[in-house]
Symmetry: C2
Subunit: 251 residues, 2 copies
């Protein structure tokens, strides 16, 4: 990835307080960030249930991870637990939100208003979590101006101006694969540095742009792999009894 990351950076950073947060943020492993988001959701549920304190064991259970891993993850963002007691739920929530940058609004633009684009535009989970959908784009002139999920669709040619104007920080690509790279290029030149890509293509972007991809076909194929592996195991390992290539199982 970023090839020229300053390694032994004795780079004297500003002695200000934020330097602490910054240094720490840089050190958090990618995998841990993903889990922090999960913890956050579980914790939000806890708050609503009136839970005020939670132990690493409980939280880990609810999040589906090992408790040691959870504690290590939390240690990346600082030590806010109380030994012998656990974590204060609200404190934890606010710290995770801060680290994940959820204290700011992140305006989202969705490009490609097909089936998926519609679903995304109408998806209530975004705005409620601090990700307001600020703009929609499509190449079809017939769609232009038509409101979807309360937001009028703009023509794709206006990406640059509209994104800049509405301070879009996250672009979501829900176009057919053929159009994805071109759309991506436009988003990047509009100043969007974070992209969520639903199109089944490998996007080429400059180093400073962060891309995350959600690829349904790949997910399905990974599951397919496991089905196959299981069937093979059954064929090979099951001596007597359950089916060969059909359904097996249920211990």
């Amino acid at each position: 990835m970023a090839a020229q990351r300053g390694e032994g950076d004795g780079v004297v950073t500003s002695p200000e307080a934020p330097a602490d947060v910054r240094e720490r943020a840089r050190a958090i492993p990618e995998a841990a960030v993903a889990r922090l988001a999960v913890y956050l959701r579980v914790l939000s549920g806890m708050v609503e249930q009136g839970v005020t304190t939670i132990s690493s064991e409980e939280l880990a259970g609810a999040a589906g991870v090992n408790s040691a891993k959870l504690r290590k993850d939390l240690s990346y963002i600082g030590s806010y637990g109380t030994r012998g007691v656990g974590y204060d739920v609200e404190v934890l929530v606010s710290h995770i939100e801060r680290i994940l940058g959820l204290t700011r609004k992140h305006s989202v633009a969705v490009v490609g208003i097909g089936n998926l684009g519609h679903a995304l535009a109408n998806y209530g989970g975004f705005p409620s979590r601090g990700f307001p959908v600020a703009a929609l784009f499509d190449i079809d002139p017939d769609l232009t101006g038509v409101p979807v999920g309360g937001i009028p669709v703009n023509h794709i040619d206006d990406i640059t101006s509209v994104c800049a104007e509405r301070e879009v920080s996250i672009g979501v690509i829900a176009t057919p694969p053929q159009a994805a790279q071109a759309v991506c290029d436009r988003l990047v030149s509009a100043g969007v540095q974070c992209i969520l890509n639903f199109a089944p293509v490998v996007l080429q972007v400059p180093d400073y742009v962060e891309v995350r991809k959600v690829d349904l076909a790949v997910e399905m194929q990974i599951l397919s792999f496991h089905v196959a592996r299981r069937a093979d195991e059954a064929a090979g390992d099951v001596v007597n009894g359950i089916g060969v290539d059909g359904v097996v199982i249920r211990p």
Copy 2:
């Protein structure tokens, strides 16, 4: 590794090498499986363009990975390249398909016919890749019988019988979070062993069930984290529009 590999002899791999394939499949790292699916897509595109041979360097470039990694990934499924030349595209495609279990049909059931469920039911990418949508379910009686994307919706209470009857091997959960665990339990008791979960919940399942989750909120929050990190970096390290490594924030 492959302990009893027949060396030197020009052993033509029989169309079926059950034990061999099985042993190998078990050894493939999870991360590599995900990449194999990506390679497969790139290769499919190559086939359509009439490309017959491709080098690891080219394929790696198109798939966005390091060429050494690609070669190692391919070595997990066997050595089908020709030194000095590269890989035969069609041969590679068929071997990856075999390993990923794409030689069988994997019927899919989608549960929860809301915005997302609609989009999934209409999504052309599934059937064309060997994942026919065989059943749709929803809890709303008004939807029952209504065809979506050509398939009539069944009531959720019929999951067990319908899934068994249509040999569903993959369940897709696109319900609201509150319903997800219950739906999951029903799918599992219907014999479904692979689940793709779009609901923002951590599902509890028996060991033998494989779950993959696609969590939009988490993806957005990871991107948010990067936005925040970047902003912090800018605040701390940017002198005058120039970032740490001389990278301009906005070209």
